[in-house]
């Protein structure tokens, strides 16, 4: 389906591409609010751990996973081995496999040319925004929405890391601490409208919160608990989600 729209109506395609690039960049703004202060904090911590400015920035460019980068830097500080750090990163980012599976299922009619870069840019935040804008995936040129949303978030993350490594704590401590709520507020803002439309979605989310809390108490590992809660609570959707919600 995606291929046909690429070959026909090329002028139309360009105008709608610009439209979706704008919309995507706008949808990324809440992520930018969250990524800048967290990126700065990461940059500062990484510098304290002895990473050079190049290494700080390269890690953000190639890994693009906030939580894992924080864990890696604190493990380096504690003198952890290569294998330990890579393994911890793997476990912590395994949740992106589940998230990518969900979003790729939604975008399955798109070509791999789009799907691969979008999948590589998936973080908790870009995944959440992308999932809550499922309609774009069906629209002509809608892939530009995801691409632009991810790229803006990506640059905010890299820029924040660079600023943290270069300038240190540029945001006052009290403000930077308060900005820690930004991404949670965005997750909530993404979730609530769906709950308003379908209360069962709220049930799935609350179930996941409880499972996550329990799993974290048992495993003591953030990566595993998020993966377990997401898969198990997601399974409740097999019975809870109405069919028409699925078909779009």
């Amino acid at each position: 389906m995606g291929l046909q729209t690429n070959t026909v109506h090329s002028v139309d395609q360009n105008t709608s591409a610009m439209y979706f690039v704008h919309r995507g960049a706008f949808a990324a703004l809440p992520i930018v609010f969250g990524y800048l202060p967290i990126g700065i904090t990461y940059g500062v911590l990484a510098k304290q751990a002895g990473l050079s400015l190049t290494e700080i920035t390269l890690m953000s460019v190639f890994v693009f996973a906030g939580a894992a980068q924080f864990v890696a830097v604190s493990m380096m500080n504690a003198g952890a081995l290569f294998v330990e750090i890579v393994l911890a990163t793997f476990v912590l980012n395994l949740r992106h496999f589940v998230m990518s599976f969900s979003i790729m299922n939604r975008l399955r009619s798109a070509s791999l040319k789009w799907k691969i870069p979008i999948s590589l840019g998936l973080t908790d935040e870009t995944f959440s925004v992308a999932s809550l804008y499922p309609k774009e995936g069906q629209k002509k040129g809608g892939m530009w929405f995801y691409a632009s949303m991810i790229l803006v978030s990506y640059f905010a993350w890299i820029l924040g890391s660079l600023a943290g490594g270069l300038l240190g704590e540029v945001i006052p401590d009290a403000l930077s601490q308060s900005m820690g709520i930004a991404l949670y507020a965005m997750f909530i803002a993404l979730l609530i409208p769906s709950v308003r439309n379908e209360w069962r979605i709220g049930l799935i989310a609350v179930l996941s919160m409880m499972l996550n809390y329990i799993a974290y108490k048992i495993t003591g590992n953030q990566g595993w608990s998020i993966v377990l809660a997401t898969i198990l609570a997601g399974a409740s959707g097999i019975w809870l989600l109405p069919q028409e919600e699925v078909e779009e």
């Binding site: 890579v86 992106h96 496999f97 949670y184 803002a189 993404l190 409740s236 069919q243 699925v246």
Partner: protein
């Protein structure tokens, strides 16, 4: 150091892009699709709680209050950016006062 960064990048990228190929190759039943469509809501739940209680160290209730303010604003269909700013201001005020 570079080796660690490359190692981290590889183990992060593989789980991210693998599903792009899997959905192309594997035809799965309707209920799997329904499961996958519930994943975003489950993931959002697991990304919010209990971590939101750790926004201000030692004061778990401040994160919760910020989250509740965000939920109320979002319920009244306020723009996401205002929701985020509202939560930041709430946490800032409570953290300075309490």
């Amino acid at each position: 150091m570079i080796a660690i960064i490359i190692g981290m990048a590889v183990v992060t990228m593989i789980p991210r892009f693998l599903p792009a190929f899997v959905v192309d190759k594997w035809v799965y039943p309707k209920w799997v699709s329904r499961w996958l469509n519930a994943i975003p809501y489950a993931a959002l739940g697991a990304l919010i709680f209990p971590w939101i209680t750790g926004v201000i160290e030692g004061k778990p209730y401040i994160g919760v209050i910020g989250g509740l303010v965000a939920a109320v604003l979002a319920f009244f269909k306020i723009n996401t950016i205002i929701v985020v700013l509202g939560a930041i201001i709430t946490v800032f005020i409570f953290n300075t006062v309490l």
